[in-house]
Symmetry: C2
DNA sequence: CACAAAAATACGAACATTTGTTCGTATTTC
DNA sequence: GAAATACGAACAAATGTTCGTATTTTTGTG
């Protein structure tokens, strides 16, 4: 894969774009908005990036990599399914807390990718979900997890963590440790007292 | 409240807009897209609606009403907290299945509301969350729910159902009954085998 | 180190499109 | 005949991007 090094300025542009896309959405963010945020004139942006869409592509696939690479490591772990599921939750919560803006873009703005990138993106996602489901199936087979349909299991599980990156802002930090522990417990054992 | 009756054509426009906003996003949907979908010319739309933004406002607040009115009925129920929480989950799952497009707009596009409506919208949401938290607190006090922080409890619970309206499309119907039952069980008792 | 050549970066002006909306007028509905 | 609806033409504003040209930074060489 051609992973060319990213200059300091480009990094700066990507970060600013992530924040703007997060709060205004991709389509409603203009290149002039972005330029202002970075302290450049519009045309200067194009010394660093090819197009607005390239920014979106970069952000989306970068996050995709975070998830995919994280999952790969988990799959290779020498552990039972429950421990792997624990690691998956760690992965998602960590990414949400460490990259709240990029993750929001990843979750909400991928639909604006152009045809080619969109298909590639969906492929990556399908692949990721396949990996997750395999682990869940493993858990069911070993009697560690309840035998619910994989789709519902996976969607509910992943979705239940998809609020952390919305909540996390600069003036609303999150107690990572507590949040992580409780969300995990909720998912594994539920909220009802026995 | 000035709830003027909505003509057939306007209804049609609102429905088409909900679908377009769902898949393309509010900002990326043009009035010409919308006109085409409804089978009119652009300018004709303005015989029925005041502006693009009015459409978004209508959609968002209509959904807000669905939730708020649903919750009000639940609050008035003569039931314990666990039953109320069950009803809340029913409410969310039903709305997601019955109005997948509007709900997606409600969830993802409210940020494009203009200042006044935005504030009003956030107020409605805060109020709704307050109601939810009260029920959760009631559950904790009665030893029906585990004593977790209300924020985490509420966010995780509501968030865990926020995938159903994404999945639900015309060619991907959802087994309402099964989905509803299992999601509920997952939330209350978790996924881990005891 | 000096210094010219080259490459990277910044900018203003301009572009073709697309945007939401308005207006005057025709047509339909009541 | 009045009110509601539909339409074509036109609008100003905003959009992403390009181009030519300065300016700055980096590089290669004596």
């Amino acid at each position: 894969m051609p992973k060319t090094k990213i200059s300091r300025r480009k990094r700066e542009i990507l970060n600013a774009a992530a924040v703007l896309f997060r709060y205004k959405g991709y389509a409603a963010t203009s290149m002039r908005d972005l330029a202002e945020k970075v302290g450049l004139e519009v045309s200067s942006l194009y010394s660093h990036i090819k197009s607005k869409e390239e920014i979106l592509t970069t952000l989306c696939f970068h996050c995709g990599d975070l998830y995919s690479e994280g999952l790969e490591k988990i799959i290779e772990m020498d552990a039972d399914a429950l421990q792997k599921i624990d690691a998956i939750m760690d992965l998602h919560i960590n990414i949400a807390i460490d990259h709240p803006s990029s993750i929001t873009v990843f979750n909400d703005e991928w639909k604006h990718l152009s045809e080619n990138e969109l298909q590639q993106f969906l492929q990556v996602r399908r692949n990721y979900e396949k990996g997750i489901k395999q682990i869940l199936q493993e858990g069911i087979d070993c009697n560690l997890l309840k035998d619910y349909p994989l789709d519902i299991l996976m969607n509910t599980m992943l979705s239940s963590m998809r609020w952390i990156h919305y909540i996390k802002t600069d003036n609303n930090p999150i107690d990572t440790k507590i949040t992580r522990d409780i969300v995990k417990k909720m998912l594994l054992n539920g909220v009802a007292r026995k």
